[in-house]
């Protein structure tokens, strides 16, 4: 009760003259009001704690820089600072909404890493190298058409121009290439899936 006898204005003035304990008294005196005020706006203990801290950092800096001149109105002034910081907090959150991932909806159900994991990467490389070896076994004319179509992404028109055969021949070679590949794959029980 004795503390209450010293007014805020006197405490502020003592603090400005270097009495650090005056700040402690001011904080103790007003912390509940300020903290509750912030909490009543944000309804989150952690955010309240942050804004409370930022409020007093601003108070301390302003006082030490000698910019405070509202003697006798310490609490309303601090409340105003915390009010502005609460507004800043909501503005910032509107611009960049926080997603806390606590509800039923999980952000990870729509976000996924599409790159393969190490095991799948190895399997993929294995499958590709097996397939290349099988293609090497094909007769040259079929192999050429298949390579041009699948790996160089050429059209059958382009293939026919390049190899000097008709489009139908190129199509036929492609068809036989695939048939032969399937045959070998079936015969040797090769699994080409990952």
């Amino acid at each position: 009760m004795k503390q209450e006898l010293i007014t805020d204005a006197v405490l502020v003035s003592n603090y400005l003259q270097g009495d650090e304990s005056a700040l402690s008294v001011l904080i103790t005196r007003h912390k509940q009001k300020i903290y509750s005020f912030i909490y009543s706006k944000v309804y989150d203990r952690d955010i309240t704690e942050d804004i409370f801290q930022d409020t007093f950092i601003k108070v301390i800096r302003t006082l030490k820089l000698g910019k405070y001149n509202e003697e006798g109105k310490f609490l309303p002034w601090v409340m105003r600072i915390s009010h502005n910081l609460v507004i800043d907090h909501f503005r910032k959150n509107n611009r960049m909404p926080k997603f806390d991932n606590t509800g039923e909806f999980s952000i990870f159900s729509v976000l996924s890493d599409s790159s393969l994991n190490a095991e799948k990467q190895i399997i993929k490389e294995q499958v590709e190298s097996d397939l290349r070896r099988l293609i090497e076994e094909l007769p040259d004319d079929q192999k050429d058409v298949l390579m041009m179509r699948m790996y160089q992404d050429m059209s059958f028109k382009e293939i026919s121009d390049k190899t000097g055969v008709s489009i139908n021949t190129a199509l036929g070679r492609m068809r036989y290439a695939l048939i032969n590949l399937r045959k070998v794959i079936d015969q040797k029980n090769i699994i080409l899936t990952n």
Partner: protein, 48 residues
């Protein structure tokens, strides 16, 4: 009528107070902060 129109808001407890560590941080911050006056310019320095 009030019951019809008002939603239940979370109860604000009366014992809402900042953590002790927050208050201690502020007191230490205050002790560490010093303002240096130089030719009408003010510099802030955090001495820890």
């Amino acid at each position: 009528m009030a019951k019809l129109y008002s939603e239940k808001t979370p109860q604000i407890k009366n014992d809402l107070n900042p953590k002790e560590e927050t208050v201690n941080f502020l007191l230490n911050y205050s002790k560490a902060l010093s303002v240096i006056d130089y030719n009408k310019l003010k510099f802030e320095a955090l001495l820890n």
